[in-house]
Every structure is written in structure tokens, then in C-alpha cells.
Subunit: 469 residues, 2 copies
């Protein structure tokens, strides 16, 4: 079928407003930060699951590749489209059912932005615990397709753990609707797991039932200085124990990160001196202000007494809490000082972490004496970020850095993408984290669910491989 | 290949001690409670993942069906074997690596009993939170294959949420080893999800990396009386909020359950009078004895003041705590009084629950005026049990009861198996909880992963269907 015929048939399904062409396509972006320049043939904007299904049936029959777009805040090129692709945007599918405040669930369409879910939950004193910087733009569908993590994983888990039901459309248009709003469901295979984190390659998520939690009534936050990595690990373990189920953040900044952020020209104060090896941002949230505070301060006191920690500042107001978080979250400030930077999002076992960071740092300075590296991240989840600069963004230099970072990681059974996914940008390194047999099984699943390789082709695996099984 | 040839080849792999025949097979059981009478041709007992792989390669080539055996405590006939099957028992695969107390993980073989994991974790002040009555016999492999739930789901989730890595062997002998011990891993498809809860039909789980948690330092327990179901829902919500992340059990007994258990000939005391509509067993576990107790009692006080609850008894000692739990857990006592009983394990939304229970009760007494029904369960997870008796265990009568229970459930988007799985015993009712498209996709997965239908054939789906795709 030629493209015009296909687009006309699609127009019959989604209406004229549902098909964007020409400048309306190229003025849009398909990556982050948004810069325009989407190369797709057309952007299709269905208004319902039924329309998604009918559009996919046509694309499947025509062998037309489809790249799904949500909020476009992904960091690995997972939404990039080429001149042969059409884009299917879920932007018109943003309906939300009312929150069920007894069952503590809400059913939403895939195009709903994360922040709208936060707001709807908070209106009835509930919490949707997935939270990340892109909350205003990213969508629930994209969050599901990438198994988003973010700031509260240590307490609540990734979005995989917040999903009770998922509705998705397969490559051939079949609708798989598993929208029971129940926590326990052992009736055959848990099909929703297929779609979570599969980056739009196995199906297009159209709706979901989200699990909501009680809105915390109290929070306690502190910035803490520690002198060696083993003590960081012990402190994590002790806090997780002492704070019961209320520990909600355990973010660690290595000295190089902290001193870079609070150094020359910084807009931040310096709540603790720059001389410590590690800085932990610790937070707990709970249901009872007095007893939560008592417990939090008692836990810190114990840590002082056992000499695990050497200094600490406890936020005494909402403003002070925000100031502490602003240091950890100042990625724009970091990007300015480490320019051009190459950023990694990796996971590995906490016992291997110190040695790993030291090895990468040494290899970097051996090869590029003027390179800089800073380390920080969600250590409570075994997930850290490395930001490095070698003063250049030449592809060969970037690749050399990637090789150092990923090879040292592969030797320690680490994973090359904790949160961000594989997309296009990391697919060359997938074998550092996954075995041949694992990758072969992934391709088998891809082939059986999408035999014509029309769904986000070339993402996770290279295109020629994705076609085979 | 004839059976003797196949068994001889298997013997070359697993050794003579690895193959049981004749009386050694029939004296064993394949269901719960154990009664002997396994009909399989042989029981194969490999000692390593490699041996499982080699045995499966042979079985795959020969088209020989394989039923995997763990602790044999399943309740839906998922381990039942026929005269054409061989059984593959993981009983010799019970190695455990030492607990990694910094990363808080432990890697175990599938045949390790759940209780050994509890003990190894507690030795280093950690907790493996999956817990169920069969803890002494059930194995980690079986727990994974059935996505086991149990007593602490409200706080920690099912075993799906406790697994960082899984190693499994596919039908053709391919080993899929995903044993990273990290919490966050978005590097392509999360293959372990395929094997969790698939009841041995998609692969045989051989090893796993389990996530451990801090061992709680305190627990608070109370039995509470409530007069109507809406208040039960509100009380759940309030306690989940007030107790922060420390709420660890919210078990509900309907009046019919409570009065049956503490009635004539009971070995239990009667901590609360028999006149209330609902009895809630509430527990919180935390990291700080004083502040946890203060918060627990404060939360109950608030509930009294807002007239959600009408009476409560708080356990003042370990013995009192055990006595309260003994009422909830007295399933043997229940089985004696409701003989012969038919037991269900269902999930549905809390807003639908009261109406559902009332409808089933009415239909039961309309049809069998002398029938009895009691209701109880993990209400905090949306999961309740119904135990019914019509004074007979005739298949036609049982089927009539099942039809009443499941049809009323299907109309409310409930699920017919919250924890126990489908196995053989519930497969006739799968369509009450899963759509045609869902079941078709399950069969597609089954067919691609096990094209010769050798892995636990006939479980979840009827055999003839399982062969097709």
C-alpha cells in the first residue's frame, strides 16, 4: 500500500485533526531536550483505544513502522523516528476516571501527564508515589513503557510496583485489556509485565489502573557527612531498620559532586563543609508528626554514637528541606560546570560500588589527565549516576568513555541502565548486562508479538536483528 | 524414543540416585495434603542447573512431558502428574550462598525451603518477608512458580516484589540466567517476570536472588470490632495512613467466621464478644519500640473517637499476640466445623466486596437452605477467602457452588485466584477472570516458549488447547 492510501485510511479512523503532516511534524521533536526536527511521515493522534487498535491493524497489514510518543522526556533516544516511520502520539488520550478513594486506585489513559495523577490523588488525601523531574511533561504511558523509577523507589518501588492493571494494543491491533484493580491476581500469566519497560516494542499501552497510597502527613530530612564508603553501606542498613517502613530517600553525593555543586559561583549555601568524603540526603515520611520526628532524630543520634556519621544538618523548615534537595537536584548547575558531559545511569551491588567508582576514575585520569568525574545517585536502590567530561563530545571520545564505564560494570554484574532504558543510545552495550541467551529470548518475544517488526523498530535491538527470531 | 532408553540417558546425566522408579514413585504424593499415589513414570532429581538443562534437552527431543515438583504444598493440583509424565523434583538443589548483608540479598537454589531462608536472614538481623503456613515444606522455586503471597503482602508485596534475579531453564534446555542482585534494571525486557506465577508451564526456575529487608524490632497487634463494612474500608484507609509504612497486617473476619472459630468446643478464648459484624486483626511492625507503640495506640484512639471502631483488645505480650493470630489461622478448626468444605481464594475491589459476599450468601441459602458459609481473609490486599459447605462433596454440587461464587465474581471484575494459581482445579473457570484475548496471548506465549507442550502440560489451560497457538 502506498503511504498516501494508508494515511487516508487512517484519516477515516482518527479524523482530519488526528493526522499531522509537513511542518506540523518537523516543528515537533522526538528527543530531549526538544529541538524540533521530527522526520516521521506523519503524526497520528488517535482519541481512544479502539482507534489505536484500528490504526495498528492498518499499519500491520501495510508493514508500516510505528513509533509511539508520550511526553518525549526519555533520555536514550527511544522515541526517535526516521523518515520511514509514522509517529503515534497518545496526546489526545488524556481522560482520567475519578479516583476510587476506597479501593485507592485510579484508571487513566496513557496520555495523562504524571503530575495530573499526583494532583488528583492529593485532592482526596492520597499519593501516587512515582515522582521524577519531568513530572509536568512525562505521561503515564511513557512511564509504563520505560518502567520509570525516580525519587521514591526505595520506599515504593518502580512504576511496575504501582500498576494494578494495564491495557495495551498489540502490533496487529489486538486489544489486551487487563484492567482489574486488584493487588493479588494469580490467574494465569501476568501479561501486563510484558509491556512494562519494553519501550513500545511489544505493544502500545493505552490505559492503566494505578495503585494509590496514603498521603504522608510528615516528613523529616537531613544532610549527613560520612568518611568512608563502608560506613555509607552500614548507615543505609541501620536507617532502613531504625526508620521501619518510613525511609523514603537515601541519596548519596560523593565529595566530587558536592564540592562541584556548592563551589565557585554556586547559588547554594554550604550546609556542611566541603571536606567530607560522602554526603547523604536522608528522608523519611510517615503518618504521625511527633513520633516520626522523635524516631528520625533518635536514629541519627544512634548513628553519631556509633561513629558511623560525623556531621549532620536536620531541616527545620520546608524551606530548609527544599534547599537541601536543591543541591542534590541541581543537574543544570552540574551540566554547566562539566561541559560537555557524558552521563550514566547504572546499577550494581553496593559491596562492589566503591571499588567500581575508583577503578573508573583511575582509568579516566590515566587516559585523560584533565578529565573530571562526579558521582551521585539513588544509592539506597543500588543506582548511581556518573557524570564525566573529557572536554570533547567527539563520538570516538564518547565511545571510549562508554567502553570504560560499561566494561568495568559488566565485570561486576552491574547493569548499564538502571532507569532510563536502552532505546537507541545504549543498544550497542546491551551485551554488557544481558547474556546471549537472554537477548535471544528477548528477540523471540519481540518476534512472536510483533512478527513484522513494526513497533518502535530498532529500539533495544538493532533493526536487522529485530526482524529475525 | 522409548521410555527406557530415555530414562537410561537421563540416568547418565543425574546418576542412579537421581532417578526414582516403581514404589519410590507411587509412595510419593503429587498433591496436598500428601496421600501417596504419584502416577508418573519416574521421578528425576537433578543436582544442578546444568543437569536440569541436559534432562530437559532430552525430554524436549523425545516430546516427554515434565511436571516439576517443589514442596508440593500447592492447592490447585498444579503438581499432579499422570502416567505419561515424568516428574522433575528439585529436592537435591538446596544450596544457599551466604547472605550478602550489605547488599541485603541471598542467592538460593530452587529447592531451598522457605523457612531456611527465613532463618539465614534472621541470623544476620534481616528479614525475608514472604511468609505462609507451609513455610517448612514449600520451596522458593515453588513460591516463584506460583507467585506466592501470604501474610505480609500489604507491607511487602507478593514474592514477585522480593525477587531481584531468577534463573530458569526453558523447555529445550536453554538456561536463562538473570541473576543480577540489583533493584533497578531497565536493560531490555524483564524476563524473570515470565517465570513468576507461570506454574512451571514456561520454564523451570532453578535459582533466584532474593531481596532481604531489615528485621523489624517491634510489633504491635490488636483485635478490633467494627459494625459495618463501609467502616472497615475507612478504618483500613485510616490505619494505612496513620501507621505510615509500618502497617503489616489487616486481616478481617466476618461474624460468621469469628463465631464459628470461637464457638462450641473451641480451644480459643473469646477476646471480644460474638455480637459484632466484623473483626479486624491489625498489626504494625517497625524499627523503634517506644514510638511504634505510641503511634499504634494513638491511631486506635483516633479511630474510637471518630466512632469507626466499637471495641478493641491490644496484645500485651507475645503470648497474647499469638493467641489472637491463632483465631485467624485456625483453618483446621474451621475445616472440622464446616465439613466437607469448599474453599475459595478470590480478589475483588473493596467497594464491591460487601455486596458480593451478601449476594453469594443469599444464592447459597436460596439453593441449599442448610448450607453454611464463612468469610475471612487478607482484606488489606483485596483478597478474601470463602469457606462453604452444602453437606456434600459430590462433583455436581461442588460445581454448582463454584459457578455461583465465580459468576458473581466475574460480574464485578474480580479474580478467581488471588494467591493459589489456576493449576488443574480452576482452569475451567479461567474465563471468568481473563478475556478471550488475554487467554489467546497466554497460549501464544506458551506455544513459543514450549512448542512441544512438555512443561506441566494441561495446567492453566486444557491440554488440547495448550498444544495450539
Amino acid at each position: 500500500m502506498n503511504t498516501n492510501t494508508l494515511l487516508n485510511e487512517i484519516k477515516d479512523i482518527v479524523g482530519t485533526a488526528g493526522v499531522l503532516l509537513g511542518d506540523d511534524v518537523t516543528s515537533r521533536s522526538d528527543s530531549w531536550p526538544p529541538t524540533g526536527g521530527c522526520q516521521a511521515k506523519a503524526i497520528i493522534r488517535p482519541a481512544s483505544t479502539q482507534e489505536v487498535s484500528e490504526v495498528l491493524k492498518l499499519c500491520h497489514a501495510a508493514g508500516q513502522s510505528v513509533v509511539t510518543h508520550g511526553g518525549l522526556t526519555g533520555l536514550v533516544g527511544g522515541a526517535r523516528a526516521g523518515a520511514d516511520d509514522i509517529v503515534l502520539s497518545l496526546e489526545r488520550m488524556h481522560a482520567m476516571e475519578p479516583v476510587d478513594s476506597i479501593n485507592r486506585t485510579v484508571t487513566v489513559e496513557a496520555g495523562v501527564p504524571l503530575q495530573r495523577v499526583h494532583e488528583a490523588a492529593e485532592d482526596v488525601d492520597l499519593l501516587f508515589p512515582l515522582d521524577l523531574g519531568a513530572r509536568g511533561s512525562c505521561t503515564i504511558g511513557g512511564n509504563i513503557a520505560t518502567n520509570a523509577g525516580g525519587n521514591s523507589v526505595i520506599r515504593y518501588g518502580m512504576i511496575r510496583d504501582q500498576l494494578l492493571g494495564v491495557e495495551a494494543v498489540l502490533a496487529d491491533g489486538t486489544i489486551i485489556s487487563s484492567l482489574n484493580g486488584v493487588i493479588k491476581n494469580n490467574t494465569g500469566y501476568d501479561l501486563k509485565q510484558l509491556f512494562i519497560g519494553s519501550e513500545g516494542t511489544l505493544g502500545i499501552v493505552t490505559r492503566a489502573v494505578l495503585r494509590l497510597r496514603p498521603l504522608p502527613r510528615s516528613s523529616n530530612t537531613a544532610l549527613i557527612a560520612i568518611e568512608n564508603f563502608n560506613q555509607v553501606g552500614s548507615f543505609l542498613r541501620d536507617m532502613d531498620s531504625a526508620l521501619g517502613g518510613t525511609l523514603s530517600a537515601f541519596e548519596v553525593m560523593w565529595n566530587d559532586f558536592y564540592t562541584t555543586i556548592i563551589g565557585d559561583g554556586s547559588k547554594h549555601g554550604s550546609p556542611l563543609g566541603p571536606e567530607h568524603q560522602f554526603y547523604v540526603l536522608l528522608e523519611s515520611t510517615g503518618g504521625h508528626e511527633d513520633s516520626d520526628k522523635f524516631r528520625f532524630e533518635g536514629a541519627l543520634e544512634e548513628a553519631f554514637e556509633s561513629e558511623l556519621i560525623v556531621d549532620a544538618v536536620i531541616a527545620q523548615s520546608k524551606q530548609q528541606r527544599e534547599d537541601l534537595w536543591a543541591i542534590r537536584d541541581d543537574i543544570p548547575g552540574l551540566a554547566k560546570k562539566l561541559f560537555p558531559s557524558i552521563v550514566f545511569d547504572i546499577s550494581l551491588g553496593i559491596p562492589q560500588m566503591d571499588d567500581y567508582v575508583n577503578e573508573v576514575r583511575k582509568q579516566m585520569t590515566d587516559r585523560w589527565p584533565d578529565s573530571r568525574m562526579v558521582t551521585f545517585g539513588h544509592l539506597g536502590d543500588g543506582n548511581i549516576h556518573l557524570a564525566l567530561t573529557v572536554g570533547s563530545h567527539e563520538p570516538s571520545e564518547v565511545q571510549a568513555v562508554e567502553t570504560i564505564v560499561y566494561e568495568a560494570l559488566g565485570r561486576r554484574q552491574g547493569v548499564i541502565s538502571a532507569e532510563h532504558g536502552i532505546g537507541l543510545d545504549k543498544r550497542a552495550y546491551l551485551q554488557h548486562s544481558r547474556s546471549e541467551n537472554e537477548i535471544a529470548l528477548m528477540k523471540t518475544l519481540k518476534h512472536v508479538l510483533d512478527p513484522k517488526n513494526i513497533l518502535n523498530p530498532g529500539k533495544i535491538f538493532a533493526p536487522s536483528e529485530g526482524n529475525q527470531s
